[in-house]
């Protein structure tokens, strides 16, 4: 069987535990169940977006437009809700996901059919999506008093003591685990990113795999658009500005290779949780937000150094003594 944790993931787990315990030793309430649950709830959106981003990065692309996509869908659902408060919120969520999916598909099509580098495409659509928010809202905010009670309440509703937002992220993790391991499209995404040439030779359309990854990333950004606006109870042009960088950081810390083809759901979730723990624990022990940024930045650099060192050291395996022959 495949190992549940690669050594890097085990290390990340230990780091997270060490951080929790050391902060917990200073601030007593930090390790209480309710605080941990609320910290996880805080990290849920990051986890969902990081999983979408993971697929994109595995296909050797990058999606810089996730936060702009999130902000645009968030604004649209908030405006719809304030104009038509009786429109059912679950349908509104579905609508947001479709809107996000459309934006993701636009990214994917540009990468697939016009073969434009993903970084250029999403740099462009990032600005376009943000621009559209301004055009729609004319710079105005949608505030909490303009949102319906259901709109505000649903992600906060408790099921078995856990908020729906957290449950949603757990569901997404489960679906991703299945998708990456047991679906054809999921495995093809790994193959396409690991070796585009070999993928082409085996009959996989690499561009189509990239399109699927972008579409999923967009769909999840659309879902998070509603979740974000509801959680922070406000929608405006600069919602989640720069959040795409935290999402990409979560992937890199979680061991998703920026060169494509390598990365696991477990690693990605741990990467997101790691950032979540930093964001939630440093304020508790009185570290300023600027230090928080510097610390997560340093961790990213260290993570990249660790993985590039590991890759450099191994050569080709030619010597018989270096090859592993299984005993039967």
């Amino acid at each position: 069987m495949k190992k549940l944790f690669t050594s890097r993931e085990a290390l990340l787990c230990l780091l997270i535990l060490a951080m929790l315990l050391s902060v917990g030793s200073v601030a007593k309430d930090f390790l209480s169940l309710s605080n941990l649950l609320s910290a996880y709830n805080d990290t849920s959106i990051l986890i969902i977006l990081a999983l979408g981003q993971m697929l994109v990065i595995i296909t050797r692309c990058i999606d810089l437009s996730v936060a702009a996509n999130l902000a645009l869908t968030g604004m649209v659902v908030a405006m719809l809700n304030s104009s038509y408060p009786d429109f059912p919120v679950p349908l509104l969520m579905l609508f947001g996901m479709l809107l996000g999916l459309t934006m993701g598909m636009i990214n994917g099509l540009l990468v697939w059919k016009l073969e434009i580098p993903a970084i250029v495409v999403t740099l462009g659509t990032m600005s376009i999506y943000r621009g559209i928010i301004f055009l729609l809202s004319e710079g105005a905010w949608v505030n909490v008093h303009e949102m319906s009670e259901a709109f505000m309440h649903i992600p906060r509703s408790l099921h078995l003591g856990v908020a729906l937002l957290s449950w949603l992220s757990i569901m997404v993790v489960g679906i991703f685990y299945y998708f990456c391991r047991y679906s054809r499209s999921g495995r093809e995404i790994y193959a396409a990113g690991n070796s585009p040439t070999a993928a082409f030779y085996t009959g996989i359309d690499v561009g189509r795999s990239q399109f699927i990854a972008f579409s999923i990333s967009g769909l999840l950004a659309g879902l998070c658009g509603y979740l974000w606006v509801s959680r922070y109870a406000v929608a405006y042009v600069d919602v989640a500005a720069g959040f795409e960088l935290q999402v990409i950081s979560a992937c890199v810390i979680g061991g998703i290779s920026i060169m494509g083809g390598r990365g696991t759901v477990t690693g990605c979730v741990l990467g997101a949780v790691f950032i979540g723990v930093i964001n939630n624990s440093l304020p508790v022990i009185g570290v300023s937000p600027f230090w928080q940024m510097a610390i997560s930045g340093a961790v990213i650099v260290l993570a990249v150094i660790a993985s590039s060192k590991a890759e450099k050291k191994s050569g080709r395996i030619i010597l018989k003594s270096a090859a592993i022959v299984p005993s039967r």
Binding site: M1, K2, Y178, R181, Y182, S183, R184, R187, E188, Y190, A191, N194, S195, T197, A198, A199, F200, Y201, T202, G203, I204, D205, G261, R262, K312, K313, S314, G315, R316, I317, I318, L319, K320, S321, A322, A323, I324, V325, P326, R328
Partner: protein
Amino acid sequence: MPQVAPFYSLRGISKAFPGVKALDKVQLDLYPGEVMALIGENGAGKSTLVKTMTGIYQPDSGELCLQGQTVSLATPDAARSLGITAIHQETVLFDELSVTENIFTGHYLTHGPFKTLDWKEMRRQAMQILSDIEAPIDPDMLLRHLSIGQRHMVAIARALSFDAKVVILDEPTAALSIHETQELYKIVNKLKASGCAIMFISHKFDEVFAIADRYTVFRDGCFVGQGKIDQIDEAQLVTMMVGRTVDQVYPKQKLPLGDVILKAQNFSHPTEFNDINFELRSGEILGFYGLVGAGRTELMQAIYGVSENINGTLELQGQPLSIRSPADAIKAGIVYVPEERQSQGVVLDLPIYQNIGLPQLNQINKNGLLNQRSEYALADTYARRLLVKAPDWHEHVGNLSGGNQQKVVIAKWLATKPKVIILDEPTKGIDISSKAAVHSFMSELVEQGLAVIMISSELPEVMGMSDRIIVMSEGLQVAQWHRADFNAEKIVSAASGGLNEKTIH
């Protein structure tokens, strides 16, 4: 005698790339239950043909017929669904995926309404196929942990995992030891017995005669002839292949050897090679022969400072040498002409003169300003010496033929006035006249007191040009002969692991 109808036929297939006509109205027939050997020199168009037959390239004209029906293969997938499968020369596999996944990527087995991938069944079948071909490989292993021979067996297992009717093997034995080659023959015979039409591409005539029923010969992208293998002999095949009788003359001169220039002792790498010891004298051409993936390139790259984790010592003219990067090697007077010419040898988007000046911009630009005139003059000297064919030296290297690109690479390194020049497969994929130019130039170099190391997988070239041959097999130095003792059979057997296995058992 009733004529059996061919199973898969190509009629008048042409394929051109910018500047090259790779295939010119070629034809080919594969018969069920028979092995057809496709024979031709490097650059004869064999690999292009394989890609055309498997839907990777689309022919510009001509038709493909499967059981008498014209088919068009828009994608590799289309070819596979018709039962056409190939093991390509450069094994195209996925490093980060497991063995089972490599075997089943593109045609996964699924179960249930959601088409859930059935890993249990895929793993079971993978183990079955691997044990059928007697390859003791763990199906859960990631491919990057496997050796080159093992990877090749995975590629073969992959081809066998299809319900294949046409199996194309493009130089399948290039990286296999004697034992593995024997296993492959068994597999080929099994496939034959089950009625598959098989195409076998190989440089080695003993293999062709051992396994093939028919042959087809290509030369420079054209069809030359075909027939039954028992109605032809090796000399006739060679004549068809090169278009002339082959007493190819190598411009080898008998020179007195000078002092030892380079000396390697206990040179080792954790996974690539171990305990390499040799001396190289001025005026000497030292040939390194071995199978593809025997560790020769890796050894040279280590000497050139590309690899890390090297143990052992290097001495240059008696002085211990510490080389940590190619820049150190160049400074010491060791240069390396890589096998991957286009990616490692030249900058395709730069003009010839800038490519030649690249390693010594410091010398050219002494006062810190680019002196284009002296750069051009330097390039002019060396490009002329190597007879590079181009309108002028402003031409981009990307627009030159393979042979002329190779001359630019060699010119670039000669301009640095090296003591040792390492040539890695210097004539791979270049035309015959450029080959001859490279060979005579090698002779010229050693005459001037340089020392040359040449890696080559072409036995006639190694035997024709070298003063001494070192044979490597699976990362080890297994044999060494001086020119007087060269013996083709012994060299090949050593390279294929023959000596290796004898000494071990």
